[in-house]
Symmetry: C3
Subunit: 139 residues, 3 copies
Amino acid sequence: MKSKTRYLTFNTKTRNAFVNITEDVQKVVNESKIKEGICLVNAMHITASIFVNDNEDGLHHDFEKWLEKLAPHAPTNQYRHNDTGEDNADAHLKRQIMGRETVVAITDGKLDFGPWEQIFYGEFDGQRNKRVLVKVIGD
Amino acid sequence: MKSKTRYLTFNTKTRNAFVNITEDVQKVVNESKIKEGICLVNAMHITASIFVNDNEDGLHHDFEKWLEKLAPHAPTNQYRHNDTGEDNADAHLKRQIMGRETVVAITDGKLDFGPWEQIFYGEFDGQRNKRVLVKVIGD
Amino acid sequence: MKSKTRYLTFNTKTRNAFVNITEDVQKVVNESKIKEGICLVNAMHITASIFVNDNEDGLHHDFEKWLEKLAPHAPTNQYRHNDTGEDNADAHLKRQIMGRETVVAITDGKLDFGPWEQIFYGEFDGQRNKRVLVKVIGD
């Protein structure tokens, strides 16, 4: 069994952001020279997500509005977590909806995706360096 | 390390549907002859889910009603994604709640499940062919 | 490829609870002697979750309050699943938000975590024995 580990760093300009990282992940798969296996991609911070969905700006706007309705940022004093001096409790909740990680099949050296599947980094408390782990295992 | 890849196709009669695919997945595990490892099962379309929960019709009704409350289909013009000519923005949101994929342990050649665990295909924009990937890796 | 399988049992004193199981999982990784690979951790019951988030009591309070808003326990007769004699339909829904499983990278024999990542068992229908599966694969 072979394996390859890479850490990607993101620093988004806005508090909330969705970044398409599909090509970055495929590059790690290429470097691994693994033809059959799986690829784990996970946020290493607990106020960010990795998820697979559509590369469509309108949908990303819908996600942001929807997450704000389900887990509003303000008023920040509605969350006990923010009593610690943080203001990002909502980001911890939003990340649960969108998920921490994805596991993608590697077949014949490629991310084995349906026609519209793309991997996104979802940021809910950005404007600072945050890391994503990519681990490929297989043969 | 051995691996096995299979693609399952579903075409549900209704827009929303839950299909128990546990036996289909176990068949792929049997074909793989893998005794110890893991099995990844994921929707290859971004308006569908794979999840593990109870095989109980009342609960599936509850899931459908609950998802409709959290991410309503209508009015379709509440979503910018639907400005592209689609009417399935809600399906992209519902799939985030229910999840894209599951990873299941294989122990002694079987899906290593608790007493009530069953794998479901969750469809939120059906009535056309959509695929599910099953990848088994191990020894 | 090596593998190791362990089953952990939890019996929480309250109906809802969050239990930090990070050290229990690292112990299984240590026993496996696997240096590079992945670790799957999943609830074996469908009214419980495994998730990765912050080890902070205020946040756990926020999670509980938020989940109760999104998927209220009472009135129990709002759910058809409860017509079967159960009263835990809400627990099946809450588990979908928080997730069934996590897959964590193993690098150099350790859970490859960011600074705040911790693994939690999330219980939504406790006060009885329930199991969690830990499966490590790699070399």
